[in-house]
């Protein structure tokens, strides 16, 4: 399984990459939405994208809407991983095409259970 991480914080990408690798994903990183679109074009397809909301250049909501409008990655599951926790933000992300929503801070269990909910196979660590 292949995952694309789109987050402007390198520290957060490290945390997410660690978690995803532990559960069996190969990870590609991008530091904002535009770079995420570029990675989709050059390194896709991906099974999953974890996307932050607030980023420079292109924010996560625009990234999600752009991906869903295009023909690039219809099958890719998208999970927003963000500090934005208000119901209206969650609704906007889902309306734009995100499949799930995880609020930072999160635990590994919270993230993996969301991935299972959207039908992605998760390797259980021993």
């Amino acid at each position: 399984m292949r995952a694309l991480l789109v987050d402007d914080s390198r520290a957060m990408r490290m945390i997410l990459a660690r978690t995803l690798k532990e559960i069996g994903f190969e990870v590609t990183e991008a530091s904002h939405g535009l770079e995420g679109l570029e990675r989709l074009n050059t390194s896709g397809p991906f099974d999953l994208a974890l996307v932050d909301w607030n980023m420079p250049e292109m924010d996560g909501l625009t990234f999600v809407a752009t991906v869903r409008r295009g023909q690039l990655a219809h099958a890719m599951r998208i999970v927003m991983v963000t500090t934005e926790s208000e119901a209206e933000r969650v609704a906007a992300a889902l309306a734009a095409g995100a499949d799930e929503y995880v609020t930072k801070p999160f635990t590994k269990d919270a993230l993996t259970s969301k991935l299972e909910i959207i039908g992605l196979p998760v390797e259980k660590s021993v």
């Binding site: 914080s9 957060m12 490290m14 660690r18 607030n54 420079p56 500090t83 926790s85 208000e86 609020t103």
Partner: protein, 160 residues
């Protein structure tokens, strides 16, 4: 719209427990929680129905411990940019939790990070409405929530 110190305490302790696995506790009210020596400050501005900022300050040794936990690297191996990135993300998560406590519709800025010795973070026209102080690995960690004097005074709104 108010911030309860208890909620702030729970948010920060929860963050450290769930994501960083670093020991943290609310500081004793008589403890010396001033940050001495070199320190790092992360600031997140909030604008919209509520305007203000969340300011997180830690001494440099703790900043390096937090960064080491995020990057899974030895504290001595971290670059200055990695420490700034990690403290920015810490401020981002505390800011996001604070915004959720405030309710209403607001946006958060990207984080800004300052480091140095004997500096003061000042947001003109803003006043502190809540603060929380913690002991993390034997070092102080300070969170301050300041409210702007009027809408838009404490920060520039970030595009959605």
């Amino acid at each position: 719209m108010t911030i309860q110190t208890l909620d702030l305490n729970a948010a920060v302790c929860g963050l450290f427990t769930s994501m960083l696995a670093l020991p943290i506790s609310v500081a004793d009210e008589f403890a010396d929680t001033e940050v001495h020596g070199a320190s790092v400050t992360g600031v997140i501005s909030i604008s919209g129905d509520w305007n203000g900022a969340v300011v997180v300050t830690v001494p440099m040794p703790l900043a390096r411990q937090i960064s080491a936990a995020m990057f899974a690297l030895d504290a001595d191996a971290l670059t200055e940019a990695e420490v700034q990135d990690a403290i920015g993300e810490l401020a981002n998560m505390v800011g996001g939790a604070t915004k959720a406590m405030l309710g209403g519709s607001s946006s958060v800025s990207l984080p800004s990070v300052t480091e140095g010795v004997r500096y003061r973070v000042s947001i003109p026209g803003a006043r502190e409405i809540a603060n929380a102080r913690f002991d993390c690995s034997g070092y102080p960690l300070c969170v301050s929530v300041v409210q702007g004097a009027s809408k838009g005074s404490a920060n520039a709104k970030r595009p959605a």
